[in-house]
C-alpha cells in the first residue's frame, strides 16, 4: 500500500503551510463559501417573492400605505422607519469595517471601540424589527375590509373630525362617500391584523413573505450580534493581540457585511418596488 493517503506529505504544500489557494486563509475562504450558499437561500426567497407577486399584481398591496408608522407619533410617514432601519444597518456595517481596519494596524483599543458600536447598531436594528413586527401583526386601528376584486380597503377615522374614509391598499384610492362606506361595512368582511392565517393588507402570501423574508434576515442579525459580541469580548481580553493578527474580526466582518447586503435587497424588493 503506497497510495497517496499513506504517504507523509510535506507540511509546506498543505493549506496549513505558507501558501494557500487564492492567497486567502482557510477560514476566510470557508466564510466566503458559506456566504455564497446563504446568498443562494436569500436569492431563492426573493425570486420566489418576485414569482408570486408578478402573477398577483392585480391585488398586491402598496407598501407605502402599510408601513407608515413611526414610534411616538401618529403622523403618516411612509417607509421612513424602514429607511431608518436601513441606515442603522449601514452605519453598523461601517463601524465593522473600521474595526477590521483597526485590526490590520494591531490597534486593540480601536477594535474594541468599533466592535462595541457594531453590536449596539445590531441591537438597535433587532429592536426596530421587533417593533415593526408588532405593528404589522396588530394591524391598523380599525382593520380593513375585503373588497369584491380581492383587494383590501383600510378603514381610517380622522382623530379630530371623526370623518371615516376607506383607503384601498392596492391602488391607494380613497373613498370618502359615506353611503359607500356604510354599504361596505354592512356587506364585506372585516379583517384586523396579520398572521399566517389572515392578513388585512392583501393576499395571504404578502404576510407570509413578510414574516419569512424579514424573519430569516432578523435571525441572521441575531446570530450576527451574538457572534460579534463574542469577538468583542475576545478582542478586549487580548486574544488576537497575542495571536499576532485580527483575522477573526475580518471573518465575522464578512458575515456582518453580508447581512447588510441582504437587507439592501430586501429593502428594494420587498418595500420599495
Amino acid at each position: 500500500m503506497a497510495g497517496e493517503a499513506t504517504q507523509q506529505i510535506d507540511n509546506s504544500v498543505l493549506w496549513g503551510g505558507g501558501r494557500s489557494p487564492f492567497s486567502v486563509s482557510y477560514g476566510k475562504m470557508m466564510m466566503w463559501f458559506f456566504l455564497i450558499s446563504d446568498a443562494l437561500t436569500f436569492g431563492g426567497f426573493l425570486t420566489a417573492l418576485g414569482f408570486q407577486r408578478h402573477h398577483l399584481e392585480d391585488v398586491w398591496p402598496v407598501t407605502e400605505s402599510i408601513f407608515y408608522h413611526f414610534p411616538g407619533t401618529h403622523a403618516h410617514l411612509p417607509l421612513i422607519y424602514v429607511a431608518f432601519m436601513t441606515f442603522i444597518l449601514i452605519i453598523s456595517s461601517v463601524t465593522m469595517v473600521l474595526a477590521v481596519e483597526a485590526g490590520h494596524r494591531m490597534d486593540q483599543k480601536s477594535v474594541v471601540k468599533w466592535m462595541a458600536l457594531t453590536v449596539i447598531g445590531g441591537a438597535i436594528f433587532l429592536g426596530s424589527q421587533a417593533w415593526e413586527w408588532n405593528t404589522f401583526i396588530n394591524g391598523s386601528e380599525f382593520g380593513a375590509y375585503e373588497m369584491a376584486d380581492g383587494t383590501m380597503a383600510r378603514l381610517d377615522v380622522d382623530h379630530t373630525t371623526h370623518a371615516e374614509s376607506l383607503v384601498n391598499l392596492h391602488s391607494g384610492d380613497v373613498i370618502t362617500d359615506q353611503s359607500i362606506i356604510e354599504h361596505v361595512k354592512e356587506n364585506n368582511t372585516l379583517v384586523k391584523g396579520a398572521n399566517l392565517e389572515r392578513n388585512e393588507y392583501g393576499p395571504q402570501l404578502y404576510a407570509n413573505f413578510f414574516f419569512f423574508v424579514t424573519g430569516f434576515h432578523g435571525t441572521h442579525v441575531l446570530s450576527g450580534v451574538i457572534i460579534n459580541l463574542l469577538i468583542l469580548i475576545r478582542s478586549a481580553q487580548g486574544w488576537y493581540e497575542k495571536r499576532g493578527h485580527y483575522e477573526m474580526v475580518e471573518k465575522v466582518g464578512l458575515y456582518w457585511h453580508f447581512i447588510d447586503l441582504v437587507w439592501v435587497f430586501v429593502f428594494t424588493f420587498f418595500y420599495l418596488i
Binding site: 505558507g18 494557500s20 487564492f22 492567497s23 486567502v24 486563509s25 466566503w32 455564497i36 446568498a39 443562494l40 436569492g43 431563492g44 425570486t47 420566489a48 418576485g50 414569482f51 408570486q52 408578478h54 402573477h55 399584481e57 392585480d58 402598496v62 407598501t63 407605502e64 400605505s65 411612509p78 417607509l79 429607511a83 436601513t86 441606515f87 449601514i90 456595517s93 461601517v94 465593522m96 473600521l98 481596519e101 483597526a102 490590520h104 494596524r105 494591531m106 380581492g150 391602488s171 391607494g172 495571536r243 499576532g244 493578527h245 483575522e247 475580518e250 466582518g253 464578512l254 457585511h257 447588510d260 447586503l261 439592501v264 435587497f265 429593502f267 428594494t268 418595500y271 420599495l272 418596488i273
Partner: protein
C-alpha cells in the same frame, strides 16, 4: 522560537497608520454614498411610489429600473469595499461572483416566465 500559529498571509494584510488613513477615507466616502443613495430611494418612493403613479405605464417601469440599478450600485460598493473583495485575487472574485450570477439570472428568468404564464391563464379563465 518560531511561532507556527501566525498565518503569514494574515500578517501580509497589516498596514501602517498612513495607509490606514487612506483606507478610512475611502470607507467614509463609501458611507456617504450609501447614505445618499438610500435617501434618494426613499424620496423617490414617496414622490413617485406605486400609490402615486400609473403602475402599467412607462413611468413606473423607469422608477423600478432605477431602484434596481441603485440597489446593484449599493451592493457592489458593499461587496467590493466593505467585504474588500475588490482587493482579493481576481480568481477568488470570479469563483465567488460568476457562478452566483449565472444561477440567479437563470432563476429570475425561469420564474418570471412561469409567473407570466400563470397570469395569462388567470386572465384567459376570467378569474381577474
Amino acid at each position: 522560537m518560531e511561532r507556527d500559529d501566525i498565518i503569514e498571509y494574515s500578517l501580509d494584510n497589516h498596514h501602517n497608520e498612513e495607509q490606514g488613513k487612506k483606507i478610512r477615507k475611502k470607507i467614509y466616502l463609501v458611507t456617504a454614498l450609501l447614505s445618499v443613495v438610500t435617501i434618494v430611494e426613499v424620496a423617490m418612493v414617496i414622490i413617485w411610489g406605486k400609490a402615486h403613479i400609473d403602475v402599467d405605464g412607462v413611468g413606473w417601469l423607469t422608477i423600478k429600473s432605477i431602484f434596481i440599478i441603485l440597489t446593484m450600485l449599493k451592493a457592489a460598493y458593499i461587496v467590493m469595499t466593505f467585504m474588500h473583495l475588490g482587493d482579493e485575487r481576481k480568481s477568488l472574485r470570479n469563483i465567488i461572483l460568476i457562478p452566483y450570477f449565472i444561477f440567479i439570472a437563470y432563476l429570475i428568468f425561469i420564474l418570471l416566465v412561469e409567473s407570466s404564464f400563470i397570469f395569462d391563464v388567470k386572465e384567459a379563465m376570467g378569474w381577474i
